[in-house]
Amino acid sequence: MNAPHFIASPDWKRLQWPLAALALVLVFNLFCTPGFFRIEFKDGRFYGSLLDILNRGTPVALAALGMTLVIATGGVDLSVGAVMAITGSIAALLITKGGASVPLVIAGSLLAAAGAGFWNGVLVGMFRISPIVATLILMVSGRGIAQLLNGGQIITFENRAFQFISRGTLLGLPFTIALTLAVFAVLSFLKRRTALGLFIEATGDNEVASRYSGINTRAVKLLVYAVCSLCAGIAGLILVTDIKAADANNAGLWLELDAILATVIGGTALQGGRFYLFGSLLGAVLIQTLTTTILTRGVPVEFTLIVKALVIVIVCLLQSEAFRRIVLRR
């Protein structure tokens, strides 16, 4: 694909606004936050604010990648945070009580995550329950299940090999970044090089028409919810290894909202249809950059909520045709 073609493509147009917003925040930091762009090489790995943003943004980015597929089918998954808590609890249990090896821990906990997503998919795809309610069930009870697994305790563990997921480095960069890019690459491959991307977009655009043209929309929905929870599970492993403890109450709390926000910033409409995986990554990075910027300014982290509210309003208005009509008329 040559450059002019790409610039003219709708994908690029969708990315203009989030890119401009990101650039704005970065320029602000260039002048107002000393040392923001400094990157050091120490003890075999790179350090710096920018890398920190990318590293800390990975849980939201991973959740947003999965969420993008769900939103593309016209759904939404509210259970992402709860799935992270469940994944973390199971991983901690397998390590402390089960004494399982690291690959087994990862496989076991991710399997549980995918199972949770499959459950969501069954409710939405088979029973045709509206996605908000269907995933609300797991959102409400998921944290309860995670606490039940943990016996209401925060389970701590020490396992250097397992902690590699969040603490490790690859080519001097945090392993989490490589992990997120790998998930992004796999999903992009499935979108571009298989019919799956088309099936997902078709299901979101017009489910009835898709079914009549022979697409198994049930299977598509089952798949996207399972993949979404799998992505959430990977993010859950990052969170649990980062603090070396499974906190069923707070792990990934409200993270689903950030994931939805990142997806919408990236240009995927909540009504479903076309989806933009790279846009969602960009959205996650933008949210984290805003958060980190506010933190480094010494402002309490709670104020990011106000900024997020503004971001949602601006993004929504930019995507609203009614708004464009009203503005253009004047």
Binding site: I132, V133, L136, S141, V264, L270, I306, V313, C316, L317
Partner: protein
């Protein structure tokens, strides 16, 4: 009652039966569960959830959703506490000011949703972030309220024999009575049902869609502001973190009460019973003696699942009867 009316009422009846069964199970299992004090606590302890759920019922009936409820409770409780403690306002002034603020906040969201044609989910999500952020902006910690409230709660109460209905429960029941009347006996209420049932048909019938939509979110804003004030009466403090996740409990209570999330179908009384079920489960668990709050979450999740599957079953049956009718013709 003819068959169709019965079929339409099945979700509501099922909720009522489950509520009754849960209560009877509690009475059989625990000594003292039958005491009227426990019954009163169902209303008093869940009053702010109940009031928020009443507002949510209006929004869901109209086919929308309001995620800003919990954030509003946090914002209102802090603002109310600050008005009384720092600015020394009398509650008679502070309460109307706060309620007006809630109405304006809700109406603002409704305006954006209607005029720009944006999804309610996103707009109210922004409202939730904004309200919660403003709450932390006002004050990061909890503020105790030492003026007025104590006197008010001591005078406003309804004696019932040896027991009494506290102010919080009274406000909840009064709000419910008002909401019940508005939903089922006014033009505005009928417009909401029409809007949620089928927006295009409502437009074609010439109903004031824009006005109704904005008003629905204003009502929800009013209810969540009132819930915030009741929270203050309940805890004697304002807390920016108050009502975290309250919107989800409210949605769950509404759905358990038999209201369809797609809008247009449901009863205000169902929501009352949904909130009661919340209360019974929580009280039952505290009688059990295990302080494991997670069982509440799991039980609520299971109940949600049960009721939604029941609703689906009824819908599927209705669909099938409609189909056989068509083929017969």
């Amino acid at each position: 009652m003819n068959l169709r009316a019965l079929q339409r009422n099945i979700p509501f009846l099922a909720t009522a039966i489950v509520c009754l069964l849960l209560y009877l199970a509690g009475c059989l299992r625990y000594r003292g569960f039958t005491s009227p004090g426990v019954l009163i606590n169902f209303f008093g302890d869940n009053s702010f959830l109940g009031i928020a759920a009443i507002g949510m019922t209006f929004v869901i009936l109209s086919g929308g959703i309001d995620l800003s409820v919990g954030g509003m409770v946090g914002l209102v409780s802090v603002a109310f506490a600050l008005l009384i403690e720092k600015s020394h306002f009398h509650p008679a002034v502070a309460i109307p000011v706060i309620l007006l603020g809630g109405i304006l906040f809700g109406a603002g969201m409704g305006f954006v949703i209607h005029v720009f044609g944006l999804p309610p989910f996103l707009v109210t999500l922004a409202g939730m972030f904004l309200a919660r952020g403003l709450a932390y902006f006002l004050k990061l910690e909890s503020i105790p309220i030492s003026h007025f409230l104590d006197a008010i709660t001591r005078t406003v109460r309804l004696p019932m024999g040896s027991l009494e209905l506290p102010a919080t429960a009274l406000i909840f029941l009064a709000t419910f009575a008002l909401a019940f009347a508005v939903a089922h006996f006014t033009t505005f209420g009928r417009n909401i049902y029409a809007l949620g049932g089928n927006e295009q048909s409502a437009v074609l019938m010439g109903l004031p869609i824009g006005r109704t939509k904005i008003a629905v979110y204003a009502v929800s804003g009013f209810c969540s502001a009132l819930a915030g004030i009741v929270y203050c009466f309940y805890t004697f403090s304002g807390n920016p973190s108050a009502g975290m996740g309250l919107e989800l409990d409210a949605i769950a209570a509404v759905v358990i009460g038999g209201t369809l999330l797609s809008g247009g179908v449901g009863y205000m009384a169902g929501t009352l019973i949904g909130v009661l079920i919340f209360g019974i489960i929580q009280t039952g668990l505290s009688f059990e003696g295990t302080l494991s709050s997670w069982w509440t979450r799991i039980a609520i999740g299971l109940l949600l699942l049960l009721f939604i599957l029941l609703q689906k079953l009824i819908q599927a049956k209705k669909f099938r009867t409609a189909k056989t009718f068509q083929t017969a013709v």
